[in-house]
Amino acid sequence: MPSGTSLDDCRPTLRGRSRRSFLSLLGLGGAAALAGCSAPESDGTVAEPVEYVEGTATGTRTLNFLSVDDNPAVNRVQLALDGAYAVTPEQEIFPLWADISTDEGRVYTVELRDNLEWGAEYGQMTAEDWIYTITEVFQADPNWAGFPNTGDWRQNGEPIPVEKTGRRSFEIQLQSVDPAFPLRPVMWGAFCMPKALIEQYRPGGDQAGLQQDEEVQTLTYAGNLGPYRFERWERESEFVAVRNDEYYLREVDGVPDEWRDAPYFDSYTYQVVPEGSSRLSALRSGELTATDVPETRVEQLEGVDGIDVKVFPQAFMTSLIYNQRSNGSFYEALREPAVRRALAHAVDKEHIVDDVLRGYGNVAHTFQPTFSQWYADDEVTEYGVGDTYGHERARELLESALDPTPYRYDGDRVVDEDDEQVTLDLVFVQGSQAVQTTAQLVAQEYDAVGLDVEITGKEYGTLVEQHVFNSWQGDGDPPWNAGPYNGGPRDGSVSQDPWDLILGVTFNTYPRTPSATRGFTIERGGINFYGYVPETDFGSLFETATGTVDETERGETLAEIFGALSAEQPFNFLNMGVKIVGYDSAVRGPEEVFGYTWNRNTWRLDSA
């Protein structure tokens, strides 16, 4: 930033932020320099502040990470607080505030760096701060602070013991071996607050007081713990953080060179621009350095000077979910793996990816993306692509698969035991054109194999309330209850309104910690709202996979799991999503890999 000159004073002329926008405003920039709004460097050239401005659709609701951990909040807090450690795309731990280690995979030792200083006179960050935050907030019962992920810090309902082992070190003592623990979003990326700050509110359980605390609202306690300092937060407009010259990583030995001088932007801004077209216009005019681009708009940016579009693989999967609970109109059939396999032959996944998603997605075949190290080609059975897609073949398979069910073919249509045409209710989440078009496409494909489909769009919250939540409708108490998404056995626990197919509820496939998919795939899983009862004993397999530190055994077990899932087709795995971002072409750093933001503090403009 120009020395001795406030950015505010120059604001009218420094509105364009990136290199490209400065060029476009060259005339105004010259005027600003004449007015003394730019600082001359030793060689006489004028140094402009290097600003990174990211356009987003929505702002954050808070900077209190103890109560909210959604992406907008975490992204902003992360500018001022690095978090415990990062995970590279190669799934290696990159220590930031701390390193984590273990001998046998059950007890993990966290070692904090020695130069971590809180702001607002809270002193050095110590193990005491972490122990207090974990035990008095993350594990607090009752959950006075409203911490959203209490389950992360508990095992089998009990708090995970944490113990101080030194001024800057503490142990996390798991109940059982978990080699993937460092990759779970528990310690990975975890933030901490000063003990003395939380102590002001803990005794009375004063959540509102904590929420409204000025230091929490402005991150003044962040000290040297992040690459940027909080500058200002205009709600629903912009969040601005400026370069932190005290950043602790500058004084740390053994970090890669690019981290020692990081960050390379004088300020980092999240600019809220609710309208998608306006965001793209701002990217074109150089007022934004980066913003997300919907797949339908990529073509407009291709070939535009000064803009690079990058595509990042993601772990979120879109599936066609089958209702196997007893309130579906075709549930007896959908409970048969052979029927589900036959239906998987009827939907052209490549057509959806190539034409509906315009190529911005990847075909899915199981509950892992192909880039995952746990995805084994030779174990996975593919449906809906190449020879495994075709209406004739689907009809042949469906005809025989329907034998043990009350349904059959009458001519070229599927009918029930009353000889009535089977009509399936497909409910999709409104708001995405791609989802709606996919729903229409599925209806056409199913029609071609003799099944009528009626499609209905619903807002996400309504869809969840009416079709996803389910509860026990039978006599007495349910034999078991796994929560609002799985209220008990599929014959007795059903949703408020019937449905047959759901589209648009995406699932995280957890490629770093694949055993987290357990809740989707076992009968009593917390997410199993579709009433899937597997033929394979996934529970035991997951137990083996999570309980071993032998990487080979783990890999083989997970390969078996994801192979079996592809064969059983609990739902039709359609495609894995991608994130498309348009950047100022001067931006250097983002690589088109999964988890690409881990090193965003080292990104730069090539003129910087």
């Binding site: 409203g146 209490t150 992360d152 979003p185 309208e275 077209s277 005019s285 309330e465 996803v468 995280n508």
Partner: protein, 327 residues
């Protein structure tokens, strides 16, 4: 006494109306499905945690953890003491949120309303005095264009032309600039398009109403008599046509103002990224921020009730035949 009594009764009635609207809004928000809650629960369950515990934590941090009636009584009690509550989707008091957003809305609505009212009335009067001429047809075309063109689309189009291609104005609204340099040229530049878009939609209505009302009087006998007595055209326009025209016109001006503040501003603020009242209330509804929804509901209720009262009082000022003394 009569006018004062009338005014006092109207103000008291406004309090009842505000109470009913607040109650209905409060209950409707409670009944609406909560997408955020669904997401939070889904995320917790997907991570192997308890969806119920996540729902409890969510209710706690959103202040939704008591019975409905208890929360409602608390809210009314706080409101009575001037405390409009805490917006948990913005992490600031509701009063502060409204006071922060209001200036941004005023920055473009006030110029738009003033310009559209002045232009609308002027063009309307001109059209009435020059009925069925080419200029009248041109003004009519402009009016219909302003009414017909969707603000949302028009705003995006203007941004593409004037911001992206010509570079005359910025695409992004700089709230910091607007706050710290309100009366600067740079702020005027970034407000030019929002004012224009809002103005084009508002000017049309005013112009057509003015034209229609003024036509009633242009050929009225008292206007002919005035002309016959040698009264100047300027005096006929301002005293004999404009003044009676303003009586019914004042009715639609309040409606126009409400329309501009409540509906048009939503779209304009979304397209231009202005963090004003429109977006504040839109986001509050979308995120089901009860305190903020109620706070932002009170503002238009106030504008509507007080605006209508002022409009009724204006009748008496504009037309001496109207008197509230016996009501």
């Amino acid at each position: 006494m009569g006018l004062k009594w009338y005014t006092a009764r109207r103000v008291a009635w406004a309090g009842v109306v505000a109470g009913v609207i607040l109650t209905v809004t409060f209950v409707l928000l409670e009944l609406a499905p909560d997408s955020q809650l669904a997401s939070v629960q889904f995320q917790a369950a997907a991570r192997g945690g308890s969806a119920d515990a996540a729902a409890e934590a969510y209710a706690r941090r959103r202040g939704l953890d008591g019975p409905l009636w208890e929360r409602y009584v608390d809210y009314l009690a706080n409101l009575a003491t001037g405390d409009w509550g805490w917006s948990d989707t913005r992490s600031q008091p509701v009063g502060e949120a409204i006071l922060t957003a209001l200036p941004y809305s005023l920055m473009y609505t006030v110029p738009a309303v003033i310009a559209s009212t002045a232009l609308g009335i002027s063009i309307g009067l001109y059209s009435a005095f020059n009925q069925y001429t080419k200029t009248d047809y041109a003004a009519t075309f402009v009016a219909f264009f302003g009414i017909s063109v969707p603000n949302f689309w028009f705003g995006i189009l203007l941004l593409l032309v004037f911001a992206v291609h010509l570079g005359w104005v910025p695409v992004l609204f700089d709230a910091e600039l607007a706050r710290t340099h309100t009366f600067s040229l740079a702020n005027a530049r970034q407000l030019a398009l929002p004012v224009f878009v809002l103005g084009t939609s508002a000017v049309a209505g005013t112009m057509r109403y003015t034209r229609a009302e003024a036509l009633e009087y242009v050929r009225a006998t008292f206007v002919k008599a005035a002309r016959a007595k040698g009264v100047s055209e300027r005096r006929i326009l301002t005293r004999h046509v404009l003044r009676p025209t303003l009586v019914p016109l004042s009715t639609i001006l309040v409606g126009d103002l409400l329309g501009v503040v409540l509906s048009a501003s939503y779209l304009v603020e979304v397209v231009f990224g202005i963090p004003g009242l429109g977006r504040l209330s839109l986001e509050a509804i979308r995120r089901q921020d009860t305190a903020l929804v109620l706070g932002t509901t009170l503002v238009p209720v106030f504008v509507a009730v007080v605006g209508n009262l002022l409009q009724d009082l204006a009748y008496a000022v504009l037309d001496p035949r109207i008197d509230y003394g016996d009501r």
